[in-house]
Symmetry: D2
């Protein structure tokens, strides 16, 4: 099973419409096109913060799974919202591992819009203690 298949094996990921854009040595990029239910309000001017925090949670996890070839559940999540994402924006999450230890890992995520503007910065601590997945291969 590769990371792209794993990304699509979750009902919530599919609802979010996530697309694996890049799986690199120490980096994954996940793209999220807009859908109307992402709107924070009926005026529909911005993307809801919860959608952005979800994207960060997921990107951090996939960066760590890529680095460790393990299932790596998020233990905590820290998000700073830096700029409102406009309704209609296509967002991309760029996630890298800062540490990938035997029991714990840390991943950093930047969420940017299609113009490269920083929308949010996130960090997550993840458990890396699960046994290695033999079938988890790079894209």
């Amino acid at each position: 099973m590769d990371l792209e298949k794993m990304l699509n094996s979750s009902p919530y990921h599919r609802w979010l419409g996530l697309q694996m854009e890049l799986v690199g040595e120490n980096e994954v990029h996940i793209k999220m096109p807009y859908r109307q239910e992402f709107a924070g309000s009926d005026e529909g001017i911005n993307i809801h913060g919860g959608i952005i925090s979800s994207l960060i949670d997921i990107a951090a996890c996939f960066a760590m799974m890529n680095a460790t070839k393990r299932d790596t559940p998020n233990l905590n999540l820290e998000v700073h919202y830096t700029r409102m994402a406009a309704a209609g924006d296509e967002l991309i999450a760029i996630a890298r591992t800062l540490k990938a230890g035997r029991t714990l890992g840390i991943a950093d995520v930047e969420v940017k819009n299609q113009d490269g503007k920083l929308i949010a910065a996130g960090r997550s601590l993840l458990s890396t203690a699960a046994p290695e997945r033999k079938t988890l291969t790079k894209k």
Copy 2:
């Protein structure tokens, strides 16, 4: 406009199916019944962490709006996942303000399942600098 109407005025909130259970002096309770798209995986055994972080983001914001009668956008979000929420669980977020200052506020949120077990604990810093909403009244 009351908090309950505001909760229902967001497409994402409606998709999440959020219900305002209680608006108290320094406390709001928001209930979130299960829907299938919340599942973290196709095996469908747990609720996705992004759903839980969304619930925390929203509950923190509503506790602060209730305390300040202002629109109070979240600036940051810190979430600790303490126990896996099972698919099918009905979750409740209990949010309280720790500080509600002139420019900044802090809200604490506990997410519990129907058995009262702690699923996640969150904290959010919010901006309280917007002008007061004359029409924001308690439920």
Copy 3:
């Protein structure tokens, strides 16, 4: 070895002048009288944030050691500064465990001044995986 002795067995704790005020069922209180080196500036009007974050780190750890009878190193630390502590203030940290699991625990800390005003709120994730200390007894 009791918690009070442990508190005094660290050179940094002694420099900070920490005093164990209370060891309760799920709560420890640690007092920190003022010393001149705590000043954030030569004008000497406030206590440095690093002193306050140190107090939070320590109080979280002692609450978790009390709950688990183990050495529980801090893995992360989140601090929100809510009010400037004035030079001369005697601060108290009130720490409680939110979770004390087999491998991880979470502790919450409030730092207050002598008037009961909230100076900072902190949360820490700690490792609880170390073997139990047979000699760690309650005060």
Copy 4:
């Protein structure tokens, strides 16, 4: 007044023995040689986490002051401890601004030992709303 003078104008900074190593376009480096009171325990094998969180708090603030020419008090602080710092280690904090807005800024800090190993990673949200210091010039 330059940043180096400001670093030395705080009693707590002087006690920590902080040295400004580099003030760059978007980066400050602050060095902290060891002193015995930094020890976490009388066995003296590690540097106390509170010392490291203090260094992160300070480095974040100086990176933001450098970027904004303003006094920029820390509002919050998030620290992940990644590796024990050994007693005797000389630590260096490398701080960069991720955002420097009109009212808020975010700074990232990495603390490394003399071998370049990552000891801790921190992030801080700071207020940037104070008036500009006319006399705050680059080193």
